[in-house]
C-alpha cells in the first residue's frame, strides 16, 4: 500500500522538478567549484600541502556528496511534511483512502530516498567530470548517500509532524544542520577541532556518512569500520522511523 503514497509524491514531483534542479544540483556543483578548485588552490599551496595526502578537491568531493544527501533529505522532510499535515493536508486525504499511517510514512520516505538518489547520482557524475573521483568503489557512495538521507529524513519526519509553523525548522537548519555541514568533516578533518568538539562531531550521523563516502572514494575504507558506520546510520533510520510513526499517529489519528 505504501507504493500508492509513493506514487502520489512522484506525480507531484514531476510537476516541479525543474525548480529543484537549482537547489538540489546546481548548488553543490557551485560549492565544489568554489571550494574544491578556488579554495583548494590555497589549501594545496598551504602549510600542509593538501589534506591527508590528497588534493583538497579530492578530499572535499565525497564530503559534499554526503552533506548534499543530508540537505536534500532534510529539506524534503520539513516543509513538505508539515504542509501535508497542516496546509495542503495530503496525508488526511490518503488516510481517507484505505492507507494506514505506516503506508504514509514509508511511502513518503521512499520518495525522499528517491530524491536523494537522483541528486547524488547527478553530483557523482559531475565530480567524475571534475576529476575529483576516479575509483569504481565510489559507485558504492550512492547507496551510502541514500542511507544517509534516510538517517536524517526519518527523525526529521518525526519532528516536522509535531510542528505548527516553520519556526522550529529555522532552529533545525541554523543550529543543527548548518553546524553539522560546517564541522562534521566535510570541509576539514575533525582532528582539527578541539578534542571535546571532535567527540561531538563524531557522534553526528553526518560524520559517519562523510567517513564512509570519503573512505570509498579514496579507497582507504576497510571492512570493520565500514560496517560500524553503516550500523550507526541504520540505528538512526530505525529510531527515526519509530519516532516518526509515533508522531504521525499522534498528529493524524488521535
Amino acid at each position: 500500500m505504501w507504493a500508492r503514497a509513493f506514487s502520489y509524491w512522484m506525480a507531484s514531483y514531476r510537476r516541479i522538478w525543474r525548480g529543484s534542479l537549482v537547489s538540489g544540483f546546481l548548488n553543490p556543483v557551485l560549492f565544489l567549484a568554489a571550494m574544491g578548485i578556488g579554495l583548494g588552490a590555497l589549501v594545496d599551496n598551504g602549510s600542509a600541502g593538501g589534506v591527508q595526502g590528497v588534493t583538497y578537491l579530492t578530499f572535499l568531493a565525497p564530503g559534499i556528496l554526503a552533506a548534499q544527501a543530508m540537505q536534500t533529505a532534510v529539506f524534503e522532510s520539513t516543509f513538505p511534511v508539515l504542509g501535508a499535515v497542516k496546509w495542503q493536508r495530503q496525508y488526511h486525504a490518503m488516510l481517507a483512502a484505505p492507507l494506514g499511517v505506516p503506508d504514509l510514512v514509508v511511502g513518503h520516505l521512499v520518495f525522499v530516498a528517491m530524491r536523494v538518489a537522483i541528486t547524488s547520482t547527478a553530483f557523482l557524475l559531475i565530480t567524475v567530470a571534475f576529476g575529483a573521483i576516479g575509483s569504481w568503489w565510489a559507485v558504492l557512495t550512492l547507496p551510502v548517500a541514500v542511507l544517509t538521507g534516510l538517517a536524517f529524513a526519518a527523525p526529521v519526519f518525526a519532528l516536522a509532524a509535531r510542528q505548527d509553523g516553520p519556526g522550529g525548522f529555522n532552529m533545525l537548519f541554523r543550529f543543527i544542520i548548518m553546524p553539522m555541514f560546517l564541522f562534521s568533516g566535510t570541509f576539514f578533518p575533525v582532528e582539527q577541532l578541539p578534542a571535546a568538539l571532535e567527540l561531538v562531531a563524531m557522534v553526528t550521523p553526518l560524520w559517519h556518512a562523510v567517513e564512509l563516502c570519503r573512505g570509498l572514494a579514496l579507497e582507504t575504507m576497510t571492512m570493520v569500520p565500514a560496517l560500524g558506520h553503516v550500523a550507526y546510520l541504520l540505528l538512526w533510520v530505525g529510531a527515526g522511523l519509530w519516532l516518526a510513526l509515533a508522531s504521525f499517529r499522534k498528529r493524524l489519528v488521535l
Binding site: G38, G46, S47, F188
Partner: protein
C-alpha cells in the same frame, strides 16, 4: 490629469508622508514575538567564521592578501563573511519577508489606506533591513575581533560598511520582489545570490581567477562589498574604497526609487 497629478508623475520619487518610522516600529513589534529567529541569525556567519577561518585556516596557513602582504586565512575570510552575511540578511528580509507581506498578508494594502505612501513603505522596509544588519554586523565584528581576525582599528568602519552593503541589496531585492509572482520565482534569487557568495573573491583572492573572470567578478556588487570590508578590516586604506562606496550607494538609491514606484504601481491602481 490636473497640475498636481502632473507634478507627481514628473518628480521621480513617489509620494510619502515622511512616516516610514511607523513601519519600522511595526516590524520591531512583530519581531518581539519572533525574537528567537532574530537571535538565531547571529550564529550562521559566526559558524562559518570558525569552520573556514579556524578549521580550514589551519590547513591553509597564511595567504597573500594583495601587495605581497601575508595574513592569516581567518583575517582574510572574516571580512568576506561579514559582507556576505550583510547581503544574505538584507536579501532575505527584502525578498521572502516582503513578498509574504505583499502577497499574502496584504500588509501594505492596510498601510496605504493610512497617511503613509509608497515611499514610506519602501523606506520603512529597507530601513528595517538596515537596522537588523547593523545589529548582526556589530556582533560579528566583535566576535571576529576577539578571535583575532581583525587587523586594524579601521575595522570599526566595517560596521557602517556592512550596513551600506545591506542597504544596496535590500533596496534592489525589494524592487525585484515586486515583480515576483510565486514562491518558485525565489529560485532565481538563489541563482543570483549563491554564485556571488562563492565567487566574489570571498573565499580566495581575486588573483586566483583567470584574467577574464577577474573582470566579471569585479562587476558584481558583492565583490565591492567584500573588498570594502576587507580593506577596512585589514587596515589597507586607499582611494579604491571610494569606488566601492559609490557603487553600493548608487545601487541602493536606485533600488529605493524603483521599489517605491513598483509599490505604487501594484497597490495604488
Amino acid at each position: 490629469m490636473n497640475a498636481a497629478q502632473r507634478v507627481a508623475r514628473t518628480v521621480p520619487i513617489p509620494a510619502g508622508a515622511g512616516m516610514a518610522r511607523a513601519l519600522v516600529e511595526r516590524n520591531v513589534r512583530a519581531y518581539k514575538h519572533g525574537w528567537i529567529t532574530l537571535l538565531s541569525g547571529f550564529f550562521e556567519p559566526i559558524f562559518y567564521l570558525f569552520s573556514l577561518g579556524v578549521g580550514l585556516g589551519a590547513l591553509i596557513g597564511e595567504i597573500d592578501a594583495g601587495g605581497g602582504r601575508a595574513v592569516a586565512y581567518a583575517s582574510f575570510v572574516a571580512p568576506a563573511l561579514m559582507a556576505s552575511a550583510a547581503m544574505n540578511g538584507a536579501v532575505f528580509d527584502s525578498t521572502f519577508n516582503v513578498f509574504f507581506k505583499l502577497k499574502y498578508q496584504k500588509l501594505y494594502d492596510s498601510v496605504l489606506s493610512t497617511p503613509l505612501g509608497p515611499r514610506d513603505v519602501a523606506v520603512g522596509e529597507i530601513g528595517w533591513a538596515l537596522i537588523r544588519g547593523l545589529l548582526y554586523s556589530t556582533v560579528f565584528l566583535f566576535v571576529a575581533a576577539v578571535s583575532g581576525a581583525v587587523e586594524s582599528w579601521w575595522g570599526l568602519l566595517a560596521v557602517p560598511a556592512a550596513t551600506l552593503i545591506g542597504f544596496a541589496f535590500a533596496a534592489v531585492g525589494m524592487a525585484l520582489t515586486t515583480f515576483m509572482r510565486t514562491w518558485q520565482d525565489f529560485e532565481y534569487v538563489n541563482l543570483a545570490i549563491l554564485p556571488m557568495f562563492l565567487f566574489s573573491a570571498t573565499f580566495f583572492p581575486l588573483a586566483t581567477y583567470p584574467g577574464v573572470l577577474q573582470w566579471v567578478v569585479q562587476a558584481t556588487p558583492l565583490y565591492h562589498g567584500v573588498a570594502l570590508t576587507r580593506e577596512l578590516m585589514l587596515g589597507d586604506i586607499g582611494s579604491g574604497i571610494l569606488v566601492h562606496v559609490l557603487y553600493l550607494a548608487v545601487m541602493g538609491l536606485a533600488g529605493v526609487i524603483a521599489s517605491a514606484h513598483r509599490v505604487e504601481r501594484l497597490l495604488l491602481r
